[in-house]
């Protein structure tokens, strides 16, 4: 399974905090996962949209595999 987590404005816009997806039989990118969870609301999401895979910064072109945790969130503001 692939775990999808959304934070901050992304969570609010998609109304989704955590979701699990079955792995695909074909190679998937982060952008493919985004298309599944956001659908037409992709255009409403913050730009740039940040991606993390297994708690490391990644990008929409990063590959995602079975067992991964992928997160989508807006630019960060720590400190």
């Amino acid at each position: 399974m692939i775990t999808v987590r959304c934070f901050a404005t992304v969570r609010e816009i998609l109304g989704c905090e955590t979701r699990t997806l079955p792995p695909s039989s074909t190679p998937q990118l982060a952008s493919d996962i985004l298309r599944i969870v956001a659908g037409a609301r992709t255009t409403d999401l913050p730009k740039p949209l940040l991606v993390a895979i297994n708690c490391e910064h990644a990008s929409l072109t990063s590959p995602v595999k079975d067992g991964d945790e992928i997160a989508f969130f807006p630019p960060v503001s720590g400190g």
Binding site: R5, F7, A8, T9, P48, L50, A52, C55, E56, H57, S59, A71, F73, P74, P75, V76, S77, G78, G79
Partner: protein, 142 residues
């Protein structure tokens, strides 16, 4: 390296004094606090959300990079989350090194990286309503 994520306040001096760092000739601390105004709005509170598992991992990566680059002997990072009132402390970064140059540079490097890499998001609460604080993107992903 010590990393703590917590809702409770902290005492910066007590936290730093609690560590006995051998060989240290310099200690530099940064304390970030909640502003009371933003674009002429009065800020009553800040709600800080984070991605706990990634925050811990990212802070460790940030701290390790600064330790290596600036020859730091020890790094302490405490970051709060949840709802904080204006003027409350948000973050403490304290670093120790043999000499002042490394301590100043190392502390600044960690604070700068926190702003662009650590997965925290802030919502400012004012009498006019709640507004997300615009964030930053890691340099290598721009």
């Amino acid at each position: 390296m010590i990393i703590r994520l917590q809702t409770a306040d902290f005492d910066p001096e007590r936290e730093a004094q609690a560590l006995d760092v051998k060989g240290a000739g310099a200690r530099v601390s940064f304390v970030g606090t909640v502003r009371d105004t933003a674009q002429d709005r009065r800020i009553e509170a800040l709600e800080i959300e984070h991605y706990p598992e990634m925050t811990r991992a990212e802070l460790a990566r940030i701290g390790t990079a600064a330790q290596t680059t600036h020859d730091l002997l020890e790094v302490l990072i405490i970051h709060r989350y949840g709802r904080l009132q204006s003027h409350e402390r948000i973050v403490l970064v304290t670093v120790w090194s043999a000499h002042r140059a490394g301590a100043f540079a190392g502390c600044q490097a960690i604070v700068d990286a926190l702003k662009t890499r650590a997965p925290f998001w802030k919502k400012e609460i004012s009498p006019e309503g709640a507004v997300w604080v615009p964030g930053q993107t890691p340099q290598d992903l721009r």
